[in-house]
Symmetry: D2
């Protein structure tokens, strides 16, 4: 251990995701056996107050109000971008140009063309990348994938995925980046998670038919005047998968009462799985191999048998929290930097999600199926 | 009460639904205040054994192996058809021609053109009709409709309906009427329920985009030889409602593990409802009018406040069963015969469902939206 | 079938349970293959209006306002008592003296000494008896018993039973038979169900330690004046079973929000069961024989594999209702009258429950364990 | 912030709880505004390997194999004890003698007399103490307490608490400290949590009647020979509270299938709460103030309205994990050290829990109620 190199992190942004990342580094360091140690080197935010406060609070050695300082810092190995979406591209390309590994919150960029440019730049520069699709880091999600791949469900036939929340239910909520015609909308914001989960579990999507709906046609500007809204509040898609299965997703940010309905249900010839992020330490499994009269969906509770739960807790039933998922994401990324395995969800994967989002939007606009 | 007329029933068919109807008559008679008494007059089935057994068991005064005998019987007021789907049209038209009221199990007919002909004949003959969409008779479903209409959810914005079961999961299950190219398929069999519930709650559907998928391409004939299968095993549709909401339904009979997932979720500007037929004595209600920090989906359990639960049981929590829903359906039908209210779900309504099914199938085949 | 004798029923009482019994006879007749047919012969209630109305509604051939008329009627085979608890003894003894079989709602009598006298009289007269503990007639409860007896849970170690409702939560609810010092109280009313279920599943209770608590010390009389209340609102008991297991029950009628929490959880060396009457078409089963990482409580949904569900419905997931449980109870009783099997829950069993109730009350008063 | 003092931590023990504490410090530091910074100064474990590994992994500046070194270290402010239960007393008294604040995992000591001695020593030395009852640190538990105290449930009448797991189900699991006659048994191990929660929510317990049962009478020694077992596998108690309510708890470590059933249900005159640690980001609330026909248990999901959830995550529905509860516990302790509020759960509280445990055991042995 003595000789283990330490990766120095430069974090951009100190909001919700900035904090989640800072916590994730601290936890990953303590929980996982990673090929590198982690050092919170410097943090950047737009105001001195925010940057200094975050440095102090999260234990960064230094701070700056100019994110470009991080790129110029030769000690920094990884640039972590949790700044507003519109800045992801510029920041990431600059970081790549500086030879840094880049960890970027989702979405990689509002437009897939930009995302693709970022992915290509990363590849050309041989830096290791990660996009923050943390729901995939849940041990129960991993279990689901393993069960599907091991054939425990038999041949996969149908899939239903949802990501529904209600933070845009209030029609008086102001216009923001979320409702920006470029990169905004629920499909980009939440549907991207539903799509990532669908491909994580079943493999590539090959065809889509979209239905992207604006339910609230006007939202107030900051000055109170009404702004017409064109982006999607509810988006649905029919899906075809390369494995022959069909499915659907729904993304909905006006799903009153729902706080985290990132759910899926998948049916195979021999079994089925039901999952809800609302109770994400559980996975419900049905097997036709049980005796007649004894069949039913089994509530499997997360425990040490479900990697890497056991790194957090040696006893079952104690439960991981959302911030723990970030630690798992980070450990996976650090493992990829160390060459232990491919990028778990790199810029290529992030680009693909953006492409899927755009294809579904285009399909909806054209009212026609699109091939991926 | 002394002068209350008695409706004499002639029942055709004594299988699953035949029994459910026979039980329904007996229970309705004892539970509800109806404008007519009910008398189980004669029952018809194709064999002497079945017909005699049913007459004895269910208390019919007589039986026959020729269903036409029921039409010729001047004492019979209502013909109740639970025979195979393919016979519904012939039987219903003959019953209407004989001036009988007609109660027909779903689907009204395999083709909507036939259903329409039946509905028009009934109208011309001024007989009262009913199609068996029993899930709509659940007091919690009625409550949901009342809450929506009373504005308890505010403006309705999105809807998600499902009817999934798993009785066709086994690819070795033999070819049958269910997989017949005419009138077969999951959209007709289960999707019809999902569509009926959607319109019951939200009102007319105005546009559909279908995705009807054959997942099991071959099933054995009775002699064991493989028969190609063309009908749909999983069908999905995007929906537009006249009230401005968008939505979706899924019908799935290969949903391994699901026995009765007739579910819906509906989101309004002020509240939401979640329902599952798997626990059909409950309705889950979220209201934004609760205090912050105290909001959540409320599990309303069926009780005497939810008509007509109280006719079955004076105390809450005791629960209705499936056969009770049939009694409610029958009471509604008898009320319509007595002129107390319009047909709850007559041949016009049954025709509309068939039309919706066919339009979704056509939309899927054309890969294009269809207007209703 | 032609020669099958018909049992003629004389029903006393036409309230909640009177209706449930009337429905139960009608359904049992149509659903089960019983050794006798059933005929609703005469019904008695205290007013002409109630008696005539019930006769008309439920299909009794005649009615009376004097329940003794039923005993004098030589055609009547079975006297069914759903009158107020305080009258059970007098009615049952008279019916037994008249040589009738007797079906009595619970409790058999407010005092176990009276119940015992009734049981002995029935035995001496060789009539067949039944006490209405309908929750035991649920196919999922039967399944639980079968699984325990078949050793699917291994050695049984601990048990937790509850029957909690909230109909006495309101302290302004008037004094009634429920709060009568003789035979009143929650342990008699609801605890009797919890005790019946405990013994049904695990066999004889051999020791009890009670804790019977009056939570609301005064309730209004009908004239509004306060009456002191001495009976129990919440009663708990520790239990020892003959099979070596220990357990507990709680009876609670001030359990705000609970409408039908008749629940149990039983743990064995190899498995466990969880049940709630709130969702009584489900039984949750855990087996240590599942593979590690795949274990969990399985939600078994009632279906045709679980006798006698299939008599009501050939497809799983449709669900039985409360009134269906009464039909099952009646079918079991009629089978006992026909000599097919012992009394499912006769006066001896009813006496035992009353004795358990009294022993727990005595234990609580003495603050000491009591042996059964 | 610049002048904020840093508390230096000396941690004894690096197992399950050692890691949970180390993670808790790191997270608390980043999430909360505490009156002190935290520095992981030195860690002690019995082997060099364990101590060095923990120091490296969790970021302690130094390590030792002699826990007394930590006491001798003048820089250390807080001694954190996660060593085996039997050592708690010796370590804590020594730490107190050295003038350190002491944070001790539960149980404070196997015997309440020892615990009391520790509490008195701490008081005499004016050091601040904490015992690790982390379930109380859950925001939903805090919410429950607040709702009860604010009268949202009305007058509290009955309580039911459970802590059941299944880690001792296997009779071949070896004899260990858990089954030691001194301080062992399920009531001490799990019942202590159930008791802590009961008093946290309802206030002081004033009377108990225990039922402590050995279900597995023999367990193998490490050499395989059978050792008789005398401690309790299932313990139940009736409770009386100072507020007038009655209740019960059950502790069970042979509850096959249960991983974390730390549950409670509390009924008041106006409302009720249901909670399960199995889904500890939820609290279910019933209010009689809802409109008739609209009442039901509401699933409140943890969100920023429920302090201190918002410190971890600005959006609802993301969920805290078990290790986050430790961070909350630590923040509360540090606040007490800083004089911001009383000890949340100090040695006095820990002593009381031990006393309750011993009183229940004594009550069970005497088969008699005991006054607290």
């Amino acid at each position: 251990m003595a000789d283990r190199k330490t990766l120095k992190i430069g974090l951009i942004g100190t909001g919700f995701m900035g904090q989640a990342h800072a916590l994730g580094y601290a936890t990953a360091e303590k929980v996982f056996d990673m090929p590198y140690g982690l050092s919170l080197h410097r943090v950047a935010d737009v105001t001195e107050e925010a940057a200094a406060r975050a440095a102090h609070r999260y234990g960064f050695a230094g701070w700056t109000t100019d994110w470009r300082d991080l790129l110029a810092d030769p000690e920094i190995d990884v640039i972590d971008i949790t700044a507003p979406n519109a800045l992801h591209k510029e920041m990431a390309l600059a970081a790549i140009a500086a030879g840094k590994h880049v960890y970027c919150e989702k979405p990689l960029a509002p437009l897939s063309a930009d995302a693709r440019e970022m992915a290509q730049a990363a590849k050309a520069a041989s830096v290791v990348t990660q996009v923050g699709f943390n729901y995939l880091c849940n041990p129960m999600m991993t279990l689901a994938k393993q069960m599907i791949e091991a054939g425990e469900l038999g041949e996969i036939r149908s899939y239903r995925g949802i990501h529904a929340e209600d933070y845009m239910t209030d029609a008086s909520a102001p216009h923001s980046f979320r409702t920006d015609p470029v990169g905004g909308g629920v499909l980009a914001d939440l549907g991207s998670h539903a799509l990532a989960t669908a491909e994580y579990l079943l493999g590539p999507i090959t065809g889509v038919m979209g239905d992207c709906v604006t339910a609230i046609n006007s939202r107030p500007r900051r000055d109170g005047s009404p702004a017409p809204v064109e982006i999607d509040d509810v988006s649905r898609a029919f899906l075809r998968f390369d494995n022959g299965a069909s499915g659907s997703i729904e993304a909905n940010w006006i799903a009153t009462g729902r706080k985290m309905q990132h759910d899926f249900e998948v049916h195979g010839s021999k079994g089925a799985l039901i999952f809800s992020q609302e109770r994400f330490n559980e996975l419900h499994f049905y097997s036709t191999e049980e005796a007649p009269g004894r069949r039913g969906f089994r509530k499997i509770e997360a425990g040490p048998e479900h990697d890497p739960y056991g790194m957090f807790c040696v006893a079952p039933g104690h439960q991981l929290g959302f911030n723990d998922l970030k630690a798992i994401e980070i450990a996976g990324y650090v493992g990829a930097i160390g060459g232990q395995h491919p990028e778990p969800f790199g810029f290529d994967a992030g680009t693909r999600i953006q492409m899927l989002v755009e294809t579904i939007l285009a399909s909806s606009a054209a009212a026609a199926w699109k091939t991926i």
